[in-house]
Structure formats: C-alpha cells, structure tokens
Symmetry: C2
Subunit: 143 residues, 2 copies
DNA sequence: CTAATTCCTATTATAATCGCAGGAAAATAG
DNA sequence: CTATTTTCCTGCGATTATAATAGGAATTAG
C-alpha cells in the first residue's frame, strides 16, 4: 500500500521548485543538491511531471524547469496519479479497466469505491501551496 | 498503491465465512471452491488472520475456521492491516517506525498524516457486516 | 488406526521498484 | 561556428515484493 519513492520525491521536488519559482528556471542540479536526491534519479521523476503537464522544461544554457501553474492550483492528487500511474486501491477501479466477471455480485466493490473516493477527495483537496506552509522554515534542523 | 491480492482475498474469504457461519467450522476446501482461489494460497492468507485474532482454526476431522467475533464487529481496517502489514502510505507512519532526520522540517509529513487518517477513518468505519449487504444476492450472475 | 484438517517451513517464478549510465538534442553565450 | 550547459531519451542491473505452490508435521474425531 506504500506510495513509491517516485511519488514521495515528486512532492518534495515540486515544493522545492515552488519555493524557488521567483528565480526563473530551476535546474535539476540545484534541486538535487537541496533535496539530497541523485540528479539522475530526479530526471526520471521530473520527466513524468513534464508529460503530466505539471512542470515544463527548457533546454540549454540558462534552462531548467518551472511550474506550469501557481502552487495553489497544483493538486497533490494530480501529482501522485502522474507519478504512480494511478491512485486506485484495486485494479478494477483503475482508469480504463474493464469490469471483471464478478462485478455484479461482488461484495467488496462498494467498499473499494468508497476508499478510492476518500483518497481522491483528500488528495485533490490538498495543494503544493498547502505544503509550503507546513513543517518549519526549512532551516530548523533538529541537530 | 494497489492493495495486494492477499488483502483483497482476505475480505472475500471473511465475507464468505460470515455468510456460512451458522454451519459451524468452515473448511478451506469449501471456501476455496466457492471463491475460486487455490486452497494452498488461501492457507497462507488465513494463517495471518488467525495470528491477527480475526478467525480461529480447529484442526482435525470436523475442524475448520470460524470468525472470532460477529461480522459487525470486524473492521475492514483491522483485516487489511493484518494482511498488508500496514495501511500507512509512507514508511514514516508505519507502526514502530523511527522518525527520520527530516521530520522537523518536512513539508510533506502533514499531508501524509492526513491521508493516513482519512484511510484509517474510512476503513475502520466499514465492517464485514456492511459488505454482506452489498452486491446482489450472490446468485445473480450477469451471464 | 485412519481420514480429515489445520499448521509450518520452504521454494520458485514473475514482476515492480530503485537507481544509475551514456549519450543525443537543443539552446545560449561568446 | 564552437563550447558549454541543460533537458531529453533509452536502456540496464540490482534488489525487493508479490503470488502461488509443495511437502510434510501436528492434531482431532470416529
């Protein structure tokens, strides 16, 4: 049931980019340095976010990435669906799945639909902007 | 993010057992036949449910399994935590995990806590008895 | 004793995740 | 035009998790 590192890192990356969006295009090197994630692994995650229309990339000198929309319009649900493929708890409820033979007499389907709905409601009600106001000022290390 | 077959089958198994609880001990052979799951695989799932105190087994001739509590007292959350190990969406929130070094300045932790809470609230508010009243009478095949 | 049944310990095959490497393509600066 | 920087693309290797099966020990009823 765990969310993969891809999804978890994606959130951190986007909050990081949101916090530095005034600086124009942000390079992966910067984000990698700040977030302690390898540049190469970041690449594979950010590529999904580009495909999903959440960030856009600009190649060449002076290039980098930037958010396509302001942070308060980026839903966490969209990010996770983008990097995880889907947030549905069971295959029956994934986008574009065909109903299985048991559907009509399935005792568990209603439960799964409700869980899917609960997850969707929560994740779509939370934005990157909400995350920016959470968890200290970024410099208050414990140690 | 998908729930594994272990968790999904566990729900079907328990609904099945609840529907036949008046018959006393229920053998895996019966459940396997009705649910179209191999007896051997069922075994590994039911073993977890025994450990988790959800069903109890009786060996020998005339033995089998039965629910430890009435269906309306068996929360789906308990079943899934039992078979999946945990329902937490991130490792930080798993039972008995040590807080990571980023905790104090983590921008995403609050979000994950909320998601965990939403999942917990929904799954703990749903019981096997609720499932028994869902999805037709068990004989209304589509075909 | 015999048959039925749960319990226990392994093992295998398959798939998914995680992370890295190498280089092509594009944009800019000089 | 050349050199540099940066995203883009393809693919690989290691590790881990899932799914399912196999074989037999322990227990109970008759």
């Amino acid at each position: 049931m765990l969310i993969s590192t891809k999804g978890r890192y994606a959130l951190r990356i986007l909050v990081d980019m949101a916090e530095h969006q005034s600086e124009g295009y942000i390079t992966l090197q910067e984000v990698a340095g700040r977030q302690d994630i390898s540049e190469k692994y970041l690449e594979s995650i950010v590529r999904e976010l580009v495909k999903g229309g959440i960030v856009s990339g600009q190649r060449g000198k002076g290039g980098g990435y930037r958010l396509c929309r302001p942070p308060e319009k980026i839903k966490v649900g969209d990010i996770l669906r983008c990097t995880e493929g889907s947030l549905a708890p069971v295959a029956c409820l994934m986008e574009g799945s065909v109903p299985c033979a048991r559907t009509a007499r399935c005792r568990t389907l209603e439960f799964w639909k409700g869980l899917d709905e609960a997850i969707r409601r929560y994740t779509d009600g939370y934005t990157i902007a909400d995350m920016m106001q959470s968890g200290g000022d970024g410099d208050d290390y414990i140690i």
